[in-house]
């Protein structure tokens, strides 16, 4: 008679995800909706040409609140998307080593994207100033 297979029980609790990371993902979501609405309405409804050419974009970025808003929006979206993507990967039960690599990779991508985006915004602001 076939032996009953050994049960798989939950392993020792792991800290790959916890309440703080989940809260961060939860809190960034609604803020993204708000910023997205503003981003969209201003970019495509209020701006005269719908911001569809280079000089209009530069003019738009001279309003001081715009770069501030866009930088905050960038931070929210980058963190929410990478936390979400990491959560999807954890659903696939990667090994601890793989998860550690992915976590560091996402951290590097996230920080790089934020720094790059912030730099790009400051370049755009400075371009208008020099014109």
């Amino acid at each position: 008679m076939t032996q009953a297979p050994k049960s798989i029980s939950a392993s020792t609790p792991k800290s790959g995800e916890n309440s703080w990371l989940w809260l961060l993902k939860l809190v960034t979501g609604p803020f993204i909706i708000i910023f997205m609405l503003v981003h969209f309405i201003v970019n495509h409804a209020i701006a005269s040409s719908g911001l569809l050419n280079y000089s209009d974009i530069l003019t738009y970025y001279t309003i001081w609140v715009v770069p501030v808003m866009e930088i905050i929006f960038l931070g929210l979206v980058v963190s929410h998307s990478l936390l979400g993507l990491r959560s999807i990967i954890i659903d696939l039960h990667p090994s601890r080593g793989v998860l550690a690599v992915i976590s560091w990779l996402f951290l590097i991508i996230g920080v790089s994207a934020f720094v790059y985006g912030t730099w790009l915004i400051t370049v755009i602001v400075s371009l208008r100033v020099t014109l």
Binding site: P5, I33, S81, P94, L120, V123
Partner: protein, 131 residues
């Protein structure tokens, strides 16, 4: 060993996208996942494209001419639709995660997806009639 056939496995992730035998909220889970992946891809492409702004008016305006075609516009419309679906479904998930409106979550899902569909249709009309 055949016992592995019926056990959890990362290789079974296609089950996330199989609605057969499942209820409506399962489609919410699937839609959220698909839209998340699409929006994440768009986010980083968007950041890369925006670097053209730092290269001067010709680079950016030429790019805008390039993407002014039905296929790109369809892609952009998909992004808008994905944003609406993910954002509104995300609202439902955020509220239920906080224990709010849990018994009515199915009705809320239907209501929010109707709004997402209407919003997507409005965007489609705006985008393709001004093309």
């Amino acid at each position: 060993m055949n016992i592995n056939r019926n056990q959890p496995s990362p290789g079974k992730l296609l089950q996330w996208f199989n609605p057969l035998g499942r209820k409506l909220s399962f489609s919410g889970f699937t839609l959220n996942r698909v839209s998340a992946l699409g929006l994440t891809l768009y986010l980083y492409l968007h950041l890369i494209v925006l670097s053209l702004l730092a290269q001067g008016p010709n680079a950016y305006d030429n790019f805008l001419k390039l993407i002014h075609n039905p296929w790109f516009m369809f892609g952009e419309w998909l992004v808008v639709a994905a944003g609406l679906i993910h954002g509104l479904n995300g609202l439902r998930i955020a509220l239920t995660s906080l224990g709010i409106v849990v018994p009515q979550q199915k009705q809320m899902f239907v209501f929010l997806m109707v709004i997402a569909v209407i919003g997507s249709l409005i965007f489609a009309f705006r985008m393709f009639t001004t093309f």
